[in-house]
C-alpha cells in the first residue's frame, strides 16, 4: 500500500518535473533566440545579411564586424569605434558602484546600529529616491552640475549615479544589517572598538552577500543607463550606451547590421561578466555560528 502510493508520488513528480523543464526550456529559447541572431550575424560579412537569411549560420566566418565596432566604426563624426567610450563607461561605473555601495553600507550600519531620533523617517525619505523617475530630475540636475562645474564630465556622471543609487544600496544594507545581531556591536564597543573600527572589522567582513547584490544591481543600472549619459555627458565623457546609439544612427549609406550587432554585444558583455563572476560569491551562511546555533 505505502509502496504503491510512493510509486505514484514519484511518477507524478516525474511528470510535473518534465513539464517544468519543458516550460523552462521554452523560456530559455525565447530569450536566447535574439542573442543567437545577434551573435551569428555579427560573425557574417554584411553582404550575407542584406542578401540572405538572418537566421542562417554564416557561410564565411569573420571577425571584421567586431574589429570595426571596437576600433574603426564611425561614432558621430569620429571613426574611433566604441573603444574610447567603453573606457569612459568603465571610468564612470567603477567609482560610481564602489562609492554608492560603500555609502549604502555606511547608511545601513548607522540606521540599524546607531539609531537616533527620526531615523525611520530619514530612511523613508531615502527610500523615496527609489521611486523618483529619472526624467523629473534632469533639468534641476543639469543646473546643479553646472553650478558645481561638473557638467559634461565623468565625475559629474559619477555624482549623478551615486546620488541616484544611494536609495537602493541603503535599502539593501539596512535590511541586511537589521538581522545582524546588535549584541555583536555592543561586544565590540565594550572591547573598545569605535564607530568606524566596528564597521570595518565587524560589519563589512560579513557583508559579502549583500555587497554582491548591491554591486550587481548598481553595475547593471549604471552601465546600462542611457538617459543620464545622453543628458549630462559630452563627447569626452560619453558612455558606451550613448555611443552605441550614435553608432547605429550615424552610419552613412548602408546600415552595417553586423557591426551594430557586434557593438551591442560588446556593450552587454561587462554586465554579463559581473553576473558570472559575482554570482559565485552569493554564498549563504557566512553568518552561521556568530550567534547561537
Amino acid at each position: 500500500m505505502s509502496a504503491a502510493t510512493q510509486d505514484t508520488a514519484v511518477r507524478t513528480g516525474r511528470v510535473a518535473r518534465t513539464f517544468i523543464y519543458l516550460v523552462l526550456l521554452l523560456f530559455a529559447l525565447f530569450y536566447l533566440l535574439p542573442f543567437f541572431v545577434m551573435l551569428t550575424n555579427s560573425l557574417k560579412p554584411l553582404s550575407e545579411i542584406t542578401g540572405g537569411n538572418m537566421m542562417s549560420l554564416p557561410q564565411v566566418w569573420t571577425l571584421d564586424a567586431w574589429r570595426s565596432a571596437w576600433s574603426t566604426a564611425q561614432i558621430g563624426v569620429e571613426p574611433t569605434g566604441l573603444k574610447p567610450y567603453f573606457l569612459n563607461s568603465l571610468l564612470m561605473v567603477v567609482p560610481a558602484v564602489a562609492i554608492s555601495t560603500m555609502l549604502g553600507a555606511l547608511n545601513g550600519y548607522v540606521l540599524t546600529k546607531w539609531r537616533f531620533r527620526g531615523d525611520t523617517i530619514l530612511f523613508g525619505l531615502m527610500l523615496f529616491a527609489c521611486f523618483i523617475p529619472f526624467q523629473i530630475v534632469l533639468i534641476p540636475m543639469a543646473r546643479m552640475l553646472g553650478l558645481m562645474g561638473l557638467a559634461g564630465s565623468t565625475p559629474g556622471l559619477i555624482l549623478v549615479h551615486v546620488v541616484y543609487g544611494i536609495g537602493f544600496t541603503t535599502l539593501y544594507f539596512r535590511n541586511y544589517y537589521a538581522s545582524f545581531p546588535t549584541e555583536l556591536v555592543k561586544a565590540a564597543m565594550i572591547d573598545g572598538a569605535g564607530f568606524f573600527r566596528i564597521f570595518w572589522r565587524i560589519m563589512l567582513p560579513v557583508s559579502g552577500p549583500i555587497a554582491v547584490v548591491s554591486v550587481i544591481w548598481q553595475f547593471t543600472n549604471i552601465w546600462n543607463d542611457f538617459l543620464f549619459g545622453a543628458s549630462f555627458a559630452d563627447l569626452d565623457s560619453m558612455p558606451m550606451t550613448v555611443a552605441l546609439n550614435n553608432l547605429v544612427n550615424s552610419s552613412t549609406g548602408v546600415k552595417e547590421y553586423n557591426v551594430h550587432f557586434a557593438g551591442a554585444i560588446l556593450a552587454a558583455l561587462p554586465t554579463l561578466f559581473v553576473y558570472i563572476v559575482a554570482g559565485r560569491y552569493f554564498v549563504r551562511g557566512l553568518m552561521a555560528g556568530s550567534v547561537k546555533g
Binding site: 549584541e183 564597543m189 565594550i190 573598545g192 565587524i202 560579513v206 556568530s290 550567534v291 547561537k292
Partner: protein, 370 residues
Amino acid sequence: MGFLDISHVTKSYGKVQVLHEVDISVQEGEFLVLVGPSGCGKSTLLNMIAGLEAISSGDISIKGRVINGVHPSKRNIAMVFQSYALYPNMTVGQNMTFGLEMHGVPKAERERALADVGKLLQIDHLLDRKPGQLSGGQRQRVAMGRALVRNPDVFLFDEPLSNLDAKLRVDMRTEIKKLHHKLGTTIVYVTHDQIEAMTLSTRIAVMNKGYVQQLGTPKEIYDTPANLFVATFMGSPAMNILPATVVMQNGAAHAEITDSEGVVRRLRFSQGNMAEWAGKAILLGIRPEAITDPEGADRKSGNIQPFANRVTVTEPAGSDTFVTMTLSGKDVIARMRADASVAPGQIFDFAVNMEKAVAFDPVTEARIAG
C-alpha cells in the same frame, strides 16, 4: 562603600519607568545574581553597569569612581552575552584578543594572555577555528575566555547559559562556580533561572517590575523571603501558600486550616510573635520539603507536627517523590524520599516542619517577621 556601587539608580524610557531606585552595593570578589521574571529590568540594569544604556538618575561607581557617562570600553568591565556575540569572521584567538588589540596591548602580551586563558578554559586546541565550527558549549567557553583575557574589575553575564541544553547547562554552571572560586573575580550575573541563582551566587537580588524585592544571601532569600513574590519565585516546586487564620490554643499561636475532608485542623507556629495576629487571616507558606513522611522529617527541627491527610496524586521523580494533597482548598505539594510508600487516594501520615513555615500579611504580602 563597596567595590561596585549602584545607588538610587532609575531608568525610564520616555514616560515608562522600568527601574525604580535600585540600591545595591557589591563587595570585591562577590558573585551577585540578578534574578527575576522576564521583563523585570535585569538586562537593563546590567547594560547600565556596562555603559550600553544611559542612566536616567542615580550613580554607578566601580572602585569609588563614578562611571556614569564613561564609555563602555573605559570602565574596565567585560560582558558575556546570552547569544555569545562572537565575531563570526574572526578565529577564536582573534575573538579573544580583539579587546586587547583595541586597547593597544602589544602582540606578545596578547599572545601570552590568550595562551593562559586558553589553557584555563581548555580551549587552547580551538584557537584557530571560526565560531561557526564550534559546539554550543565551546562557544560559551570562548565567550567567557574573551571576557577573561582582559582581566577586568567586574564581569557581567547576561543569561549566559540559557542557550545550552539542560545537561550542558548544569556542567557549565559548575564550571563558572569553580572559575569564580579560583579567580575570585567580582561578578554580576543575570538569570531568570532561580536554581542558577541559588547555586552560583554569594548574594541574590530578586527583582520584579523594576523593583529590587529582596537582596540577600541564597539562604536568607530561601528561608526568610521578604514577601510573597520572593517566596513563590524562588524554589522549585514553588512554596505552598494557603489561606489560614491565626488562633490561640493553650497560650500558643496556631494556624487554622482545613484538610482534604474539609475538617478544621491546627498547626502550632514556632514564631513567638504570631500571637499578635490572633483572630486575623494570614497566608501560610510551607516549602514542599517541609512536608514529609515521619521518617523523612528533619531531626534537628524542634517543631515537627503530624498531619494525616488524603493523597491526591503521587509523582515519582527519581530522587524524590512529589505528593499532591488538598489543604484549605489549595493543591499542596510535599517532597518525600523516593522510597516513601505512598499511594494516591490513601490517608497518609505526613509530618509538617513548622519551624520552616513562614506567614505573610495577606494585604501587603510582606512576610510577618518572627
